[in-house]
Amino acid sequence: MNTIQFLMDGFGIAFQWQNILFAFVGVLIGTAVGVLPGIGPMSGVALLIPVTATLTAGLPTEAAAASSIILLAGVYYGAMYGGSTTSILLNTPGESSSVVTTLDGYQMAKQGRAGSALSIAAIGSFAAGIISLIGLVLLAEPLSNVALQFGPAEYFSLMLLGLAAVSGLAGKSMTKALMMTVFGLMLGTIGIDAVSGIARFTYDIPVLYSGLEFLTIAVGLFALGEVFKTVLERDHEDGTMAKIGRILPTRKDLKESAAPIMRGSFLGFFIGVLPGAGATLASFFSYIGEKKFSKTPEQFGKGAIAGVAGPEAANNAASGGAMIPLLTLGIPGSGTTAILMGALIMYNIQPGPLLFDDHPEVAWGLIASMFVGNLMLLVLNMPLVKVFAKIIQTPKKYLLPIIIAISFFGVYAVQYTTFDLYLLLACGVLGYLLTRNDFPVAPLVLALVLGPMIENNMRRALTISNGDFSTFVTNPISLALLIVAAAWLLVPLLLKLKGRSVVLNEEG
């Protein structure tokens, strides 16, 4: 069967009524998550894992996995659409990837062109979503074929590269990011060792034998961490909301933003494919690029529509591009994709090159549903943008306790132990303290997911080579990957030494 055939089968799955519903719920919640400042895509996805797990409990494993991942991915790219709304209307970015949208978007809103800005953002996101999906369809097969040739040594180095990329770009201090990565890897070693069956660091405590549950830690660090932050440091909800006015963009607006959308889409897609560099970086580069391309750069910062169209397209394309390493290589490039991967593993489905052969319905169903979901988002965001703008006004005093209650429910309904609830609360406090002091938590979660795989591949490679560590550097592909990984850590350091400011990726 060829790619087209697989894609058609994927559409067959995406058009099952429950999956249409799941995609719809996913993008709807995603948009809300994007609109609400304080809840990012990462905590949104983490919070919904338990909910989807219970919703799909009656289905056979594979169908359940496909449905869940359709919903969760919907939240992920839906949040990219929603993030622009608050940037434009309130000058407060809902996500870090929409920070640059505030520069011109809010200016447009002040001039009474909020509607145009919002609809261009939605159209740009849609175009970018479709372009990145086409890229995903075209690249999925060849990339997974390449990855199939990989042995344990190559895999080990590839995963190290993923971790290095995320740590190298996350947060202000690389030392702290690396510490978080190593700490995450360590937490991953708790429990029964998969290779030898020996219990490690369990101290005869029964709940520890299965290891620390990834879900509990992710929900605690992200969702509860953010809730605690908002409780402790009252967010200033200043700024008046701009009137939306006319929603459809004018012909002139469309004409001016067509090229930036195309450029933003391609740029965002390629940045998204790279591990570590995510939507935030993509939107940032797109903005700089558009300013250079523009015939009237002085308009930027004063309400240039290209400054909204380009970055919004880029951040959406990046979220599509980020699915490629996750699905084809089994390596998440960001915090959010790490959580998506954790969700797949919960269903005993291992993302990676074999995914397309072993579970075509999950892989292609997801890809097809993303086409459907993007279309839904366009429809949702154009006429309903005024409704979503209302969500911003949800009072925090009700929202925050309910988020805590949802995380409790989610964790308990999946784990059935009170231990996980205490762990959840502890992770919440830890997440708050760490984030507040510039210890990025995204690398921790990524490392926790990748840890067991890294270790297994390392030990398999060493077993093959009879304990000879040089196997990682004598294998050419593995060596190349290790060199890239080292470069990823060293280049920002060297740039810093030279006094250049380094663009940081604070998105998860």
Partner: protein
Amino acid sequence: MSKTFDRFAGIAFLLIGLLFVIESQRISESSYGSAVGPDIFPIGLGAVLILLSLRLLYETFRYQADTQKGEPVLYKKFIVIFVSALLYAALLEPLGYVITTFAFLLVAFQTMERGKWIKSIVIAGLFSFGVYYFFAEFLGGSLPGFPVFL
């Protein structure tokens, strides 16, 4: 960034790293005949974490005095919510989901902002009953609904 926190974190992670290295020695030998047992990876990680923590401690001596964030921190609210969340976790199994969730939400709503009791009670009630019935009755999930002694 806070220098005190960084130093504290540096020392804490240093100890965690040390603990990992020491405790890894106690992991039993692999019977699986491989040169690389289950202890290599944790030992390596522990060693790297120790080095990184030392590096962080070294960095804290290099940068200038910390610029305090001017954010007022509302400890009181947080402590009330955190303690009620702890009680929520502890009482969830003996008292059941509905009662504990309702009580937790009510306390938390009122801690966030006093007043509007009726609205708080309605929202807390809707959420706790709604989630329980949707999950346990409609979806057939298992959740301790009500106190065991009832």
